[in-house]
């Protein structure tokens, strides 16, 4: 196995041929239909790609299959996008599968992730509970992004925090998942939040 570390690259050196970038991830989670793929698409440099994981008997040690008896294979679709930060670093945005029974995929999605966005819709706030719980338990930095649908709510930040039971230590931002600038702000908040947590950990 040959592994080439990106930091071996000196600018102008012909080694670029062998450069393998590092990748970082941000997970975009939330309930079904809340706009996760829309958000990924708004900032991705490629049209969001879809990949599928087949859940077969090889992976059925997972308890979450309860309730889908009689079906030996099932497909979990993941939508994702990419942002090339520079030749050495690529950021991937992974949308979580909407269905709760695919929790097991979240572990791989979250492994090594910078942090996560929990996208919520004020008409269906309960769609965000599972994701908030998941990231809290694993100590993964996350921000809550309230997708402001047209003709929707107007709740105050405090009301949303109270309804979701998240404290002031979790950033909460209002956003429009269709809007690139708005989604960039959300991602920046995730990264800043991860940086501040890291700072605290070091201090």
């Amino acid at each position: 196995m040959v592994s080439v570390q990106s930091d071996r690259l000196d600018s102008g050196q012909p080694r670029e041929e062998l450069l393998v970038p590092s990748s970082v991830k941000i997970v975009v989670a939330g309930g079904f239909g809340v706009g996760k793929t829309t958000m990924v698409g708004a900032v991705s440099e490629i049209t969001p790609l879809r990949t599928e994981e087949l859940l077969t008997e090889a992976g059925t040690q997972i308890d979450d299959l309860a309730g889908v008896e009689g079906k030996n294979t099932t497909t979990v679709a993941l939508d994702f996008g990419r942002i090339t930060i520079n030749p050495e670093v690529v950021l991937y945005l992974f949308g979580t599968p909407g269905q709760d029974r695919f929790w097991f995929m979240w572990d791989e999605l979250s492994y090594g992730a910078i942090g996560a966005v929990v996208l919520v819709d004020t008409r269906r706030l309960d769609g965000g509970f599972g994701a908030i719980d998941f990231f809290e338990r694993r100590g993964i930095p996350f921000v809550v992004a309230v997708n402001c649908f047209e003709g929707g709510h107007s709740y105050s930040e405090d009301e949303v925090r109270h309804a979701l039971d998240v404290g002031d230590n979790v950033p909460l931002v209002l956003c429009d998942a269709r809007d690139r600038e708005s989604c960039k702000t959300v991602l920046a908040r995730v990264i800043e939040h991860a940086m501040s947590k890291l700072d605290h950990a070091v201090a």
Binding site: R82, A188, M195
Partner: protein, 124 residues
Amino acid sequence: MSPRSSDWWYDEAAGPLVRPYALVSGRTRPTWGRLNLATQVRSIRTSTETGSLSVEHLEIIKLCRKPLSVAEVAAYLHAPLVVAKVLLSDLIQRGDVITSDPSRMATAPDLNLLQKVLDGVRAI
């Protein structure tokens, strides 16, 4: 054959599953176990003996002339992730494909890297 084997090759959403598994001779576990969704892979220029490789292996080598993630390889191949991982691990073991340093993936990104990502996101 188990009683449920008739279902084995068919999925309601995905349709017949014969082809993906046939691609990897029924293997469902990559031989090189450290491939994550976001692991970067890239084929190396030096060509080795390719006679024993499948069309799909060759397709991956072609796709990975530019660095890609495992998830992108799977998406472009229209193959399930596990299939892409199995095929990629074949190529990694042969030395046709290299990956980003897996130990980097295992540790949380450091402040320096996060700052670069933050600057990059703001710049798009």
